[in-house]
């Protein structure tokens, strides 16, 4: 009965927050409180134990990496980057899509992709207005960029929450994850972009004009003519990031200096080095919403874990009357679909418990990287599956873009579906292939 109740609270909260994203924080925090109450009253999961088992290391890394991203953003580097991309691409429509995707993939592997998007996207939308684009181009270029962001986030152990969770919980070490996930995500991105270029051809109905391209490049440069890189933010932020990467790669776990401690010290050093800006960022830029959301999820998942439900679920998969490799495929497909419906945070927090059981029967790295790829595929399925989707939608609406035919351009749920379906299929196929090759 307790298992049913706690599972119902977890699934109910996840479903409700997906249906009512405007109230998701209150919903999951209430769900977490109710879970603690049930766990405490039934003595299945006393609150003190549930809170003690929250992976605080993961939250430390999320907050720390978020602050480091804000520091790099304050340096003005993303504005410079967007102008550079426009100049180098010559404002060529097709080239812009590929270059923005490639750059956002790389950036998302190192810093919080939401902040990067928030800074790069408005510049991209200005370019679209200057260049003149069509609905097809807007849909596929922005959609491809979101998929690239998701892949970049999965490429490194510090790119996005699912990978950070694997690193923070010690499921995989930095190098092991990086060497397996980075090539897999790069292959998926290349395959996705080739398919987009071959089938959708985003730029095919965009009027081409050399004058328009010239004006776009010149205007972008003029709009940012005096923008200077803030060395006081860039140097400490960049140095800390490089030093942290070096420490993550080289320091063995036996030293006791774990990834979250490296992150804590590295980010602290960067903030100290940036003077007053560092203090201001800590006071105003910590992503409280994401932190509380994940804390609530960890609490709910922790209470369900205490009932043994996840172990039973994994057991159910392992007794399916199909070969072990097929069982893994079933798990990966289910993980991708669940992520599409419930988003990456909740899915990863719950599915990792199941993955740990499967990892005891198969090579752990194959299961974990496969899971990260599945979660990445699911994040790309619907515009609502990852936070960057609704953010992009809102920014496009605010930009009030019009197409060459004079109609307003939009980027909504239905518009994104073909891009999401293609991204989902490609990433999931690559993820399954990579996993099966390692079994």
């Amino acid at each position: 009965m307790t298992t049913v109740l706690l599972t119902a609270v977890l699934l109910g909260s996840i479903a409700l927050q997906a249906l009512m994203p405007g109230r998701r924080l209150v919903i999951v925090l209430t769900g977490a409180g109710v879970s603690c109450l049930i766990g405490a009253v039934t003595n299945v999961a006393p609150t003190s134990r549930v809170l003690a088992e929250v992976p605080w290391d993961v939250l430390v890394m999320l907050v720390g990496l978020g602050l480091l991203t804000e520091l790099l953003a304050a340096s003005g580097m993303f504005g410079k980057l967007a102008v550079w991309l426009t100049r180098v691409s010559g404002a060529n429509h097709a080239l812009l899509v590929v270059m923005f995707c490639a750059v956002m993939y790389l950036v998302s592997g190192l810093v919080n992709n939401l902040t990067a998007l928030l800074l790069v996207l408005p510049l991209m939308l200005v370019q679209f207005r200057l260049l003149g684009v069509t609905q097809r181009y807007l849909t596929w270029s922005l959609g491809a960029m979101l998929v690239a962001c998701n892949l970049g986030g999965a490429a490194t152990p510090i790119g996005d929450f699912p990978a950070i969770l694997l690193l923070g919980r010690g499921a995989m070490d930095f190098n092991d994850y990086l060497t397996r996930a980075a090539p897999a995500t790069a292959v998926a991105l290349a395959a996705f972009l080739v398919l987009v270029a071959a089938t959708a051809r985003p730029a095919r109905d965009v009027p081409r004009s050399r004058v328009s391209a010239r004006i776009t490049v010149a205007t972008m440069q003029a709009l940012h003519r005096g923008l200077k890189l803030d060395i006081r933010a860039l140097v400490p932020g960049g140095t800390a990031l490089v030093a942290m990467m070096a420490a993550w790669i080289s320091l063995p776990a036996s030293t006791g200096v774990r990834p979250e401690l490296i992150c804590w010290l590295g980010v602290s050093a960067a903030l100290v080095g940036s003077g007053r800006l560092g203090e201001r960022l800590v006071r105003s830029k910590v992503d409280i919403e994401a932190t509380l959301f994940l804390l609530a999820l960890f609490v709910m998942v922790g209470t369900v874990r205490a009932t043994g439900a996840f172990a039973a679920m994994a057991q159910d998969i392992t007794v399916l009357p199909i070969p072990p490799a097929a069982q893994v495929v079933v798990f990966l497909v289910a993980a991708a679909v669940l992520t599409g419906l419930f988003s990456a945070g909740p899915s990863m927090a719950a599915l990792l418990e199941v993955a740990e059981v499967l990892a005891a029967r198969h090579p752990p790295a194959a299961i974990y990287v496969g899971l990260a790829m599945s979660v990445c595929a699911g994040s790309s399925l619907f515009i609502t599956a990852a936070t960057s989707g609704p953010l992009t939608q809102a920014l496009v609406e605010r930009a009030e873009l019009r197409g060459a035919d004079g109609n307003w351009l939009r980027f909504g749920f239905v518009d994104f579906m073909p891009v999401g379906a293609l991204g989902f299929g490609v990433i999931l196929c690559v993820g399954i292939a990579v996993t099966l090759l390692q079994l």
């Binding site: 003005g76 504005g79 408005p122 200005v126 207005r129 200057l130 260049l131 003149g132 009027p207 081409r208 004009s209 050399r210 004058v211 328009s212 010239r214 004006i215 776009t216 010149a218 205007t219 003029a222 709009l223 940012h224 003519r225 005096g226 923008l227 200077k228 009030e400 873009l401 019009r402 197409g403 060459a404 035919d405 004079g406």
Partner: protein, 212 residues
């Protein structure tokens, strides 16, 4: 729209004009169109001139061989002599850059109000903190006998000139007495031939200084 130019160029010009100013954006569009050939410049004037009178005037002048007018630094220094604080109303990139370059110890503020959608954060980022943002509720905090209100004018014809509409929201009778100088900087220096859309007509006597 002419066959030489793509559709949707109006939106492109509006985006540029919002953050560079009508005149600076016009010269940029004219320069880039002309780089492709004189036909393109004529097509640009035909396509956008009626909607954007400043662009029309600039394109017309360029077709007759005019160059980007040089900024009169001496006149600027003379008008700002003794002025310690300047509130700029409206945007013109070339003039703002010159103002910042010659500011010395003078404090500069930009009124972050406009008829066109403007990303003020991006506009101000070009000045590395040398220009502060003020809005309609706070700009009077900059008033004083050694303070000036400065706006950009688009051609002076007899007793009147044209300025950005936001000027009318700033320069009421009560406000005028609070500032030591009210300066109009004629950034166009040319007559406009089509109806001056996007701008409003004001008497030149509104201003204590008229910069060429």
């Amino acid at each position: 729209m002419s066959e030489l130019l793509p559709k949707g160029l109006e939106d492109a010009f509006l985006s540029a004009a919002a953050e560079l100013g009508m005149c600076s954006a016009a010269w940029l569009f004219v320069r880039e169109a002309e780089a492709e050939g004189k036909d393109y410049l004529m097509a640009l004037r035909d396509a956008l001139g009626r909607t954007f009178p400043v662009l029309d005037a600039v394109a017309g002048a360029r077709l007759e061989g005019a160059e980007v007018p040089a900024l009169d630094a001496v006149a600027l220094d003379t008008a700002l002599e003794g002025i310690r604080r300047v509130v700029v109303v409206g945007v013109e990139a070339a003039q703002l850059d010159a103002l910042v370059a010659r500011r010395g110890t003078r404090k500069l503020a930009l009124l972050t109000e406009a008829a066109l959608a403007t990303d003020w954060k991006r506009v101000l980022a070009n000045f590395s903190g040398a220009v502060e943002a003020v809005d309609l509720a706070t700009f009077q905090g900059w008033a004083g006998p050694r303070s000036a209100l400065l706006t950009f004018a688009y051609g002076v014809s007899g007793e009147s000139t044209h300025v950005a509409p936001v000027w009318l929201r700033v320069a009421g009778t009560d406000v005028r007495t609070q500032f030591g100088a009210l300066i109009a900087w004629d950034v166009l220096g040319l007559p406009m031939f089509v109806y001056p859309r996007w701008l409003v007509e004001v008497p030149t006597s509104t201003f204590t200084h008229l910069l060429p």
